[in-house]
C-alpha cells in the first residue's frame, strides 16, 4: 500500500507577490534572459552597478517579502560564498566583489521576474516560447511527483529511525541509504508505468489542456518598453 501522502504543493518563492506577478510570464522570461545575460557578460563593477537600480526597483514591488529575498540571496548559495571567500583571502578581492554583485543582481532579476509566477505558468510560458514539448512534459511530471517521492523518502527515514537507525560513518549506514534509494527507484519505476497507462487511457497526446490563456495587456507592453529602454541606455552608456 502506498502510504505516502500525495505531494504537498510547493511553489516558486515569490509566487503571486507584488505588481510583477500580474505580468505575462512570457514577457518576464524574455526580459529576464536579456537582463541576466547582459549582467553575466559584465566585465567590471560599473557595468554591474548600471543594472542595480533596476533590480532594486523590481525588488520594491515585492518589499513585503524582504526576509525571503534576503534569505535566498545570502544563505542559499554555498558555492557563491565559497568562491567569494576564497577570492577575498586567496585570490583577487576585486574578482570576489565583482562576482558577489553580479550574482546578487542576476538572482534578484530571477527572483522578481521568474519566481513571481507559478511553476505551472512558467512552464506554460516556456511552451509558447517554443521550448521542446518533450522536455516540458518531463519538467511537468517531475514537478508533479517531486513531493510524492520526497514524502516516500521521509517515510522510509522515519521508519528506519523508529527501528533504531542512527546515521554514522559505517557501511551499515551507507547500505541503508543505498536501499532507500534503490527502493525509491523501484517505486518510481512502477509509478511511472501507472502514470503512463493513466495518460494513455485518457487519450493524452502530449499536450495539457489549459484553462487560462495568456493575454498580452497594456501593463505588459509598458513594462517591456520601460525595461528595454533602461537596458538600451545602460548598455549604450556602460558597455559600448
Amino acid at each position: 500500500m502506498d502510504t505516502a501522502t500525495e505531494g504537498e504543493k510547493v511553489e516558486t518563492p515569490l509566487n503571486g507577490e507584488g505588481l510583477l506577478s500580474r505580468l505575462d510570464p512570457r514577457v518576464k522570461i524574455v526580459l529576464f534572459l536579456v537582463l541576466a545575460w547582459t549582467v553575466a557578460l559584465a566585465g567590471n563593477l560599473l557595468q554591474v552597478f548600471a543594472f542595480l537600480p533596476l533590480a532594486l526597483l523590481f525588488y520594491a514591488t515585492a518589499y513585503r517579502k524582504t526576509a525571503t529575498i534576503l534569505k535566498l540571496l545570502l544563505f542559499a548559495d554555498f558555492f557563491l560564498l565559497f568562491v567569494v571567500l576564497t577570492q577575498l583571502f586567496l585570490g583577487s578581492p576585486y574578482e570576489g566583489v565583482l562576482i558577489f554583485f553580479k550574482s546578487t543582481v542576476i538572482v534578484l532579476f530571477s527572483l522578481l521576474l521568474l519566481t513571481t509566477s507559478s511553476v505551472f505558468d512558467l512552464l506554460h510560458a516556456l511552451h509558447h516560447l517554443k521550448v521542446p514539448n518533450k522536455l516540458l512534459q518531463i519538467t511537468f511530471f517531475f514537478y508533479r511527483y517531486l513531493f510524492t517521492v520526497k514524502d516516500q523518502l521521509q517515510l522510509a527515514e522515519k521508519s528506519a529511525k523508529s527501528r533504531g537507525f542512527i546515521p554514522k560513518t559505517s557501511i551499515q549506514t551507507y547500505k541503508t541509504y543505498a536501499y532507500f534509494m534503490g527502493n525509491l527507484l523501484l517505486k518510481s519505476y512502477f509509478k511511472s508505468e501507472n502514470v503512463y497507462k493513466a495518460l494513455i487511457s485518457r487519450g493524452f497526446k502530449g499536450y495539457f489542456p489549459v484553462f487560462r490563456h495568456f493575454e498580452l495587456g497594456k501593463l505588459d507592453v509598458i513594462f517591456a518598453l520601460f525595461t528595454i529602454i533602461y537596458w538600451g541606455v545602460a548598455v549604450w552608456r556602460f558597455y559600448l
Binding site: 540571496l73 565559497f82 577570492q87 585570490g91 534509494m181 519505476y189 511511472s192
Partner: protein
Amino acid sequence: MHISEGVLPGWCLITGWVLTSAGLYVGLKSINGRKIPRTALLSAVFFVASLIHVPIGVTSVHLLLNGLAGALLGWAVFPALFVALLFQALLFQFGGITVLGVNTFNMAFPGVVAYYVVKPLLKKGTTGSLIAAGVLAALIGVFLAATFVSAELMSVGSSFTKTAELAFLAHIPVAAVEMVINSFVFLYLKKSGIPLEV
C-alpha cells in the same frame, strides 16, 4: 557542486549551453512514450536523494549521483539532470539560469561516459561486476564532474587557482561515499528484478 551565477566568463557560459543543447537533443530523441514519465520520476528520485546528508567523519556530504543516473538512464540523463537543476535554480536559487548549460553538462556528460563504461558490467550481472560497476560509476561521475568544475574555474583567471583546487578536493569524500552507495544500489536493483538499464 554547481557553479553560481556571475562566476564564469561569457564564452564558458555559451559553450556550456551549446554542449548541453546537443546533449538534450540526443537525450530527448532517445526517449518516447513510457520513457517520458519514467525519466521524470527517476529524475525526481535523484533530486531528492541528492538532498540527503550522508555522514562521513565529522561532517556530512550531499551526493551527486550523476554516475548512477547515467548508468540507469543513458543519454536521457541530460534531460533528467537539466530538469532537476532547473528546479534547483527556480525554487532555491542554487546555480542559476545562465549557468544552467554549464552545470548540466558538468553533471550529465560524466553520466553518459559512466553509462558506456559500466554497461557491459551491468549486463554481466554477477555480484563482483555489479560492485565494480558501482565503483566505476562513482569514480567517473564525481571525478569527471570535479575536473570540469575546476577547469572552468581556472578559465576565469589565475586568481582562481586556489578556488579550483579546493573545489576539486571537496569532491574526494563524495566519491568515496558514492562508490559504496552505488554498489549497494546496483545489488538491490538486481535483487528486485527491474532492468538495470531503464
